[in-house]
Point group: C2
Chain length 498, copies 2
């Protein structure tokens, strides 16, 4: 086996003297005022932060993000770079102070209620979206303004650096690249999109000038990255249809004005070691201990997601009910644990969805359960350690999103699980492209398919479970988050030379 | 100008001795029992029937369709070909008698509630569709069974004909080709799809075996035709993604097993002369006369569509309200006539939509109208002649579907209108590809865009109105329905020779 080059080395080799800048809506840490009145910070959750944070060590990179908490805003008002960790910093944070009403327009109205829905095909198009004057205000005063603020900040921070490498993250910041290109002609600009990219037919839903602005901004960059080849193709076809670009699907190139833009899939992953180490956290061990009350008696079907429209919880429960219908011998022998993080409940569609989830679970529990045994245990709250514990102990993991950018839970589960648990995975999760040989793939709209695969997973021979689990661990190990970054850096190096 | 070859000649040249067979769910005529107890028939409405009926003259073709009325079923039970017209027939009808419950599964549950929604992107995917046992029954006992019945009937009727040309129409009959190929190895099989075809991401919503069955059936044919190049590309990409086919996007070819299938756009059109002649119908003249009460006093904005989710009536009215808001000088000077044919009201989504349309109109009329003047006149009923009359007299036609296969109304309007009326047309209507140089294109989700284009249309100089109207008439005349058929026949001839 080839000796692995340490993370920091890879980055140093690529960057040389050049400055690395990261931009994302949410930063890696959040500040709070402690009980003693002192400022404290804690690491944020979420796959992206875990991934990026773990590889920024020793880069001396700048990470630009929005202030999220009140204390963040206080920090932001100082307009200073903050080294992390404070005593021996290896990268620096810069927080942007954005007024709440502007942030609401940028983050809620445009990023989450529009672009997230668009990217995940979540609109009921006969009735939504409708672009009127409220949208226009949110776009101009919110999204465009905040994106410009990000770009101006990055330009100011890299003043004097000739050709910094700037890595812009996700759907909140589609316009940063375009503004930045005007200010930093020679920078290497890379945008990574962490959500799916939809087909041109669906992308056309956006107002003409808005969709053009987004595509034109992304096409002033050097590289645009996605999780999967499906999204790459969709993006390239959008450029052809909506800007009339010459394209090269085979080589992932879009020709726009005087530029050639590389469009490519870099499937994000997890830090395998960092993930495994989470099992050593006391709260996780306690969680595993507590779970044994269930796992000693029952087979454990698990799901862990946000209570989010795209995650498809209701069809998951309906498929489980179909499983109980078709295989009554399973009654009383298994337990479906559903851990759902509350999500965007200020939106009616989401609070309605949460209510529908709860009603569906109550209906199934009352139909199939009894005083001794309830088939589903639904917990809608935020308990990260409990989720990690459960991921290490499931017999079957159900991850059935209607559409999903990557779905890192499937990769975390592959690494964490110690019982040769079987993963039943939607073919519309980005992770499916990589994991297909180890998981049981399903069409997430198809209850029969889902129920059958759950049954297949529950009744699989130990030999096959073991083979699949091993295969999954190998795939994820081979394609860990460092490889994700390495591939990006390698391509950044290539485009820098040309 | 080149002398036009008569329709019948074109068809004869292509077909020679070969039998032409048409298959569609709805046939060109329906039988009823008259008041005197005698059997009567009347021609059906709808663009497809008008188009095909007008070009079948002198072909001696067979047209296979479902029995729709009770009297149709009586006719169907005789299992006989019926010549039309009865005294000197130039083509023959054969009606299939399908039991009502089976027809309901095939037509309502699968064709309209599933495939129509799919093709037009109408699902609220977080909540629908869900494929369970009811779907499976409707698919197997309804859609598959009826498609097989069509295929077997066609095979029986063409027994002895070596290489008939069989033209299968639309989304109700996707599986006919596959069944028929097993029975008629040497037939030339052509399927024409009259609705949009969606992207692979969206087509994947269908259960795995169902989407495969549809694609595999269509790929046993010689030619698959669509209205626009967008749909052609979507279909070809579906074949690549879901069947792993080798494809050739540039030449519209899909390689599947031992076949090469031609996939091509043939934009359907209208018979220009037949359409113009409708103005001579007394009921139409009366309608025009009656309309002058409005057109003498007001500018006339018109819409004519089914009250169908894809037609986007509510956003159309909202855009009109925005127009009145931004241009109060228009109050009292114009009238928005909305003629909507009732559609699928047995479905809750449609009856809800109708109610929402009525509420929106009431709201706008109460806000902007007064005792002398109401801005919108909404008529949800079925009055074909009144629509034709209005199409000849509008100042502005609003046709803003969210997604629409072709939209023949835009073409009919181009031919019928005698006042240089301006057409405001959704870029997601199939017709937009051809008519874009004559219409004002809109993003149908964008109220501001729609309101602006309505204003532009209302205030356009007579010179520009005239130029646009002339251009539209020329485009439609050049690409009439005969050309649609001629292109198909030319390609049928080509594939027959190879």
């Amino acid at each position: 086996m080839r000796k692995k080059i340490p993370d920091s080395k890879v980055i140093e080799q690529t960057l040389g003297e050049r400055k690395l800048v990261l931009a994302s809506n949410r930063g890696p840490i959040q500040f709070e005022r402690g009980k003693d009145g002192k400022r404290e910070w804690r690491r944020g959750a979420g796959g992206l932060i875990t991934a990026l944070d773990s590889i920024l060590k020793a880069t001396k990179a700048y990470w630009i993000a929005s202030a999220m908490t009140e204390e963040d805003s206080q920090v932001a008002k100082n307009q200073k770079l903050l080294g992390l960790p404070e005593d021996d910093p290896f990268y620096w944070i810069y927080l942007l102070d954005i007024p709440p009403d502007k942030y609401d327009q940028y983050y809620n109205e445009i990023s989450n209620d529009l672009l997230w829905f668009l990217n995940h095909h979540l609109f009921d198009v006969a009735n939504e979206p409708t672009f009127g004057s409220q949208f226009r205000k949110a776009w101009d005063n919110g999204y465009v303004a905040v994106n410009k603020q990000f770009a101006q900040t990055i330009a100011a921070l890299t003043k004097g650096d000739d050709d910094p490498v700037i890595m812009i993250q996700d759907y909140h910041l589609y316009l940063v690249g375009g503004f930045l290109r005007q200010l930093k002609r020679d920078a290497v600009l890379f945008h990574f999109v962490h959500v799916p990219w939809c087909s041109p037919d669906y992308f056309r839903i956006l107002p003409t000038d808005v969709r053009q602005a987004i595509l034109e901004s992304l096409l002033t960059l050097d590289i645009v990255g996605f999780h999967s080849r499906r999204y790459v193709r969709n993006f390239i076809l959008c450029c052809q249809d909506l800007l009339g670009c010459r394209i090269d699907l085979r080589h992932g190139k879009v020709y726009y004005r005087d530029r050639v833009v590389l469009v490519k899939a870099y499937p994000i992953s997890i830090g395998v070691e960092e993930t495994r180490k989470m099992l050593e956290i006391p709260e996780v061990s306690e969680g595993i201990e507590k779970l044994s009350e269930i796992t000693d008696k029952y087979k454990l079907i698990l799901r862990v997601d946000r209570a989010e429209l795209s995650k498809n919880l209701i069809r998951g429960f309906e498929a489980f009910a179909m499983l109980l219908d078709t295989h009554p011998e399973l009654l009383g022998t298994l337990k479906f644990l559903a851990y759902a993080y509350p999500s965007r409940e200020y939106l009616k569609k989401y609070s309605d969805y949460r209510r529908a989830i709860e009603e569906k679970v109550a209906e199934i529990n009352s139909k199939y359960g009894n005083s001794q045994w309830q088939p589903i245990d639904l917990q809608i709250d935020d308990n990260y350690y409990r989720s990690i514990a459960a991921l290490s102990r499931f017999d079957v993991l159900l991850t059935n999103p209607v559409f999903d950018g990557m779905n890192l839970v499937a990769k975390e589960a592959s690494v964490l699980n110690s019982r040769d648990g079987v993963i039943v995975l939607s073919e519309n999760a980005g992770a499916y492209e990589e994991l297909r040989d180890g998981v049981l793939g399903i069409n997430p709209f198809d209850l029969e398919d889902t129920a059958k695969k759950l049954y297949q997973a529950l009744t699989m021979t130990p030999l096959e479970r073991g083979l699949r689990a091993t295969r999954l661990k190998e795939i994820v190990k081979r394609n860990d988050v460092l490889k994700w970054l390495r591939h990006q850096l390698r391509d950044i190096e290539k485009v820098s030379k040309t």
